[in-house]
Amino acid sequence: MKVLVPVKRVIDYNVKVRVKPDQTGVDLANVKMSMNPFCEIAVEEAVRLKEKGVATEVVIVSIGPQQAQETIRTALAMGGDRGVLIVTDIDPEPLAVAKLLAAVVAEEQPNLVLMGKQAIDGDNNAVGQMLSALLGWPQATYASAIEVSGSTAKVTREVDGGLQTLDVDLPAVVTADLRLNEPRYASLPNIMKAKKKEIAQKTVADYGVDVAPRLKVLKVVEPAKRSAGIKLETAADLVSKLKTAGVL
């Protein structure tokens, strides 16, 4: 079974995000970039499927700037087999990403696409669902457990209210939630080995997909700041403040 894992290069989750003074976006100059944490979880799950003998090949794909190659390398060091980088200067919208991934799926013919539920830059939570719809494949989002058996997969999902279990026919699209696993750190020997793994360089034109944005960003601003309040001495002081504020 072949597993395709799309990964996105995003601002590291520990970085304090700053909005540019000209309101055109967020300042990405000289900030640490990393693999989107949910994509890391997806890579880990794919590698575990391979270690269990369920998957035979794990292919990593990323759409982004040339530096997204580093993100693919990280995934290869975790255990991915080879990579595909589709180079583009724009940060494509989820619709364009889904269309490009659908074209990669047509080429690679995987049995499972395992990806993150959300990229922590745009917070869209959309590409997996869109890819599934475009392919006409079943979807199971927000996975906290995946069990592949034969031509189906049983997926436990984190939903409002608790957990839901779905059984989907393969091929399918599954998106990872936080509790699916804890991603490993790549070992030094594996990082060295990953340097020799193949990464195919592609362009958007290779896939003939229209990636023109549908949304025009008019401005990006900082949200209203909350200011720090006061520290109180006792629980009784707190109750009296809350009563005065009318929230008790």
């Binding site: 539920k117 869109m130 719809a133 779905l166 059984d167 960003v217 909350r226 520290k231 009784a236 707190l238």
Partner: protein, 313 residues
């Protein structure tokens, strides 16, 4: 211009995310219909018919819709999409699960979790865990939008719209197996007036139940948790507040033993009053808390319980 709002419901109850999404829809058009997806959900449709400003309610039912299977939900919406210029869906985990499918099939760019309707084609939404607000203008003729309920006031009730039945939809190659829902008599987290949340400091599920739940019950509050508390198994996943969990904006949010990572703040910083109890006076949560107690929760929470009792709570 006509707008379709998809109701937030659990087959038995209409949730107030629907009322809030109707408010957003009414900013786009006065022709607002509500679609109820479910199974045995007639009571939900009747409740939706009472929302002021709703033109009519459509009820689509099937087994797959009753279990929130995304393929069926998207198909039911797509069957009606031709009649509408915009489709607005509450940004719950269920809504976010199928909204992008609708957009993909219509070949439009979805707009996720809007917090403001600027004009008929322009919307504001948080990005980067709420550290920035982006205003986007869409060039798509049809709009598919998810709406963050906490950002809009609930539409009133007082109407009596007609209810029509429309066709259901099935799940295709996806089968519902089972669900395991957290049972609780407490108010629903996303809509509660008061939320009491516990973090990693609790150290165990027993401690979480012993400390957080009685305080919540005394206040008639919902219970929330940080990711660390959920990951460690102290609280169910459904309790997670944050960037990738639930977004809440109660009148009062009490964070106990939570440091205040940006991913947590993303889910609660629009609360009216924030209280933090943390033994580390440098914890980032104090930078946004209105009232703080720098204390060990082990003594502070019992003291708070006593003070509430003394105040007649």
């Amino acid at each position: 211009m006509a707008v379709l709002v998809v109701a937030d419901n659990d087959n038995a109850h209409l949730r107030d995310g629907t009322h809030k999404t109707v408010t957003a829809a009414l900013k786009l058009s006065s022709d607002v219909d509500v679609l109820v997806l479910g199974k045995g959900a007639k009571a939900v449709a009747d409740a939706a018919a009472k929302i002021t400003g709703v033109r009519k309610v459509l009820l689509a039912e099937s087994d797959a819709l009753g279990h929130g299977v995304a393929e069926a939900e998207a198909d039911a919406v797509l069957a009606l999409a031709g009649n509408y210029d915009a489709i607005l869906i509450p940004a719950t985990s269920g809504g976010k699960n199928f909204a992008p499918r609708v957009a993909a099939k219509l070949d439009v760019a979805p707009i996720s979790e809007i917090v403001e309707v600027v004009s008929a084609d322009t919307f504001t939404r948080p990005i980067y865990a709420g550290n920035a607000l982006e205003t986007v203008q869409t060039s798509d003729a049809k709009k598919v939008i998810t709406v963050r309920p906490t950002a809009f006031a609930a539409a009133e009730e007082g109407g009596s719209a007609p209810v029509e039945t429309v066709s259901g939809a099935d799940a295709g190659k996806t089968r519902f197996v089972s669900e395991e829902m957290v049972k609780s008599d407490r108010p629903e987290l996303a809509a509660a007036k008061i939320v009491v949340s516990g973090g990693r400091a609790m150290g165990s599920a027993e401690e979480f139940q012993k400390v957080i739940e009685p305080l919540a019950d005394k206040l008639g509050a919902a219970v929330g948790a940080s990711r660390a508390a959920v990951d460690a198994g102290y609280a169910p996943n459904d309790y997670q507040v944050g960037q990738t969990g639930k977004v809440v904006a109660p009148a009062l949010y009490i964070a106990i033993g939570i440091s205040g990572a940006i991913q947590h703040l993303a889910g609660m910083k629009d609360s009216k009053i924030i209280v933090a109890i943390n033994k580390d006076s440098d914890a980032p949560i104090f930078q946004i808390a209105d009232y703080g107690l720098v204390a060990d929760y082990k003594s502070a929470v019992p003291e708070l319980m006593d003070a509430l009792t003394a105040a007649g709570k």
